[in-house]
Symmetry: C2
Subunit: 270 residues, 2 copies
Amino acid sequence: MKHTDIMRVVLVGAGNVGTHLAYHLCSSQVKLVQIWSRTEVSARTLGERVEVPFTTTLDDLSADADLYIVAVPDHALPEIMSLLSLQRDRFIVHTSAGSSMDILRIASDRYGVFYPLQTFSRTHPVRFSNVPLCLEANTAGDLALLKDFARHFSRRIYIMDTEKRKTVHLAAVFANNFPNYLYQVSEDILHGEKLPFDLVKPLIRETAMKVQRQSPRQVQTGPASREDHAIISQHIERLGRDTAYARLYSFLTQCILDSLANKNKPHDHA
Amino acid sequence: MKHTDIMRVVLVGAGNVGTHLAYHLCSSQVKLVQIWSRTEVSARTLGERVEVPFTTTLDDLSADADLYIVAVPDHALPEIMSLLSLQRDRFIVHTSAGSSMDILRIASDRYGVFYPLQTFSRTHPVRFSNVPLCLEANTAGDLALLKDFARHFSRRIYIMDTEKRKTVHLAAVFANNFPNYLYQVSEDILHGEKLPFDLVKPLIRETAMKVQRQSPRQVQTGPASREDHAIISQHIERLGRDTAYARLYSFLTQCILDSLANKNKPHDHA
């Protein structure tokens, strides 16, 4: 394919990631030619929404697309790869952080990874322009092609191998899933006293904005970082000693205290 | 004082909170007439920055201000209260989440609390317009006066007693200090593999923005919420079994798993 041609893409998977990729591709210079999902309702919902043909049969996949994006859960990847019956010169990528690139080798000689580092909920729109894209491919030529494709999404392109990508995914759990769980705890505590979660929303936003410019270590505040044991004890009492949230509070407070004692290297409080 | 008069304020304390209050007051309709700090350098730095007289002697405090804001750490409050020698009809508030309102009773018959629910780092500017202000006063008249004052900062005004305020502070630790610590862990993990913290910054921002509109419970993603034990095990291996970060990962993952098993009520995994 020449770089001036319009790239033709098939999307395999209509979950959270697939859905947001499809939405974005429909407003891009790339042509999404087909969507596959295991379930009829997912395939139809997304296909009709973005006005792209859809199928639930892998054997019906368009044979001549330039790129096949497989956006399915990690656990489903091996099976879907084994069922794909494309020509071995078709370029296939998956979107997963947790799976190695080599898992695609069974289906094609040309394979790679297109991992958008963002949290995707179906109900929440995603703007890709600032999303880091972690790319990998098994040949330099296809890596270049994948970069061209990625530029339709974002300028923040990172080339990295499977091991680095897995580290990034691990770091993302600490940056996203765990903080979000703590937001949930905060909401529970407030609702338990009939107070609105709205109270802490500006704080959540500000905390996230601060670390865009400064290291989290430099902007840490609160009772643990002040080593204010009187307030720490009050808080644990308030949660109720021996409750799950009190244990969580104690655990995280001890982590912060240890990190103060042991600055600039990963700490251990065995 | 009539409501049309310009309110005259003395600020006792020039730490993180005091500094940001002073910056804001200087661009408001309220007149900041004096700043006190225990240390000469803090008093001078802030006083000169905002062009307001400063002192390090509590006995030199202006006697006729309409409002005295005591913005000092919780542990310093009792001593400073015992040293204040104002007329007992002067209105005094503190800015602390963790201290009761009654701690001010020793210094005046008119007292209250002005607690801005935000994280204050001296190096990071604060826009107050969206900051929730938690107010309390010992008379209805002074509560009205404090509300008038608070409107110079923000429209988000909440009247709450000391017990509720302490609950809010506890919730704020889960919303701010603990997530910020997890950002720090994320940064450590990335830097350990020579990867930039920049990679997860959009994710941090997006996670915080999502919960502005949706409950954190509804937008949780990641291996724990998918109960993806293969990825969870991979992550723990990657952190190194028996390291502090692996224990932290396991602890938080178990919390999320428990919360899935036990939706909509605080969980316990004793």
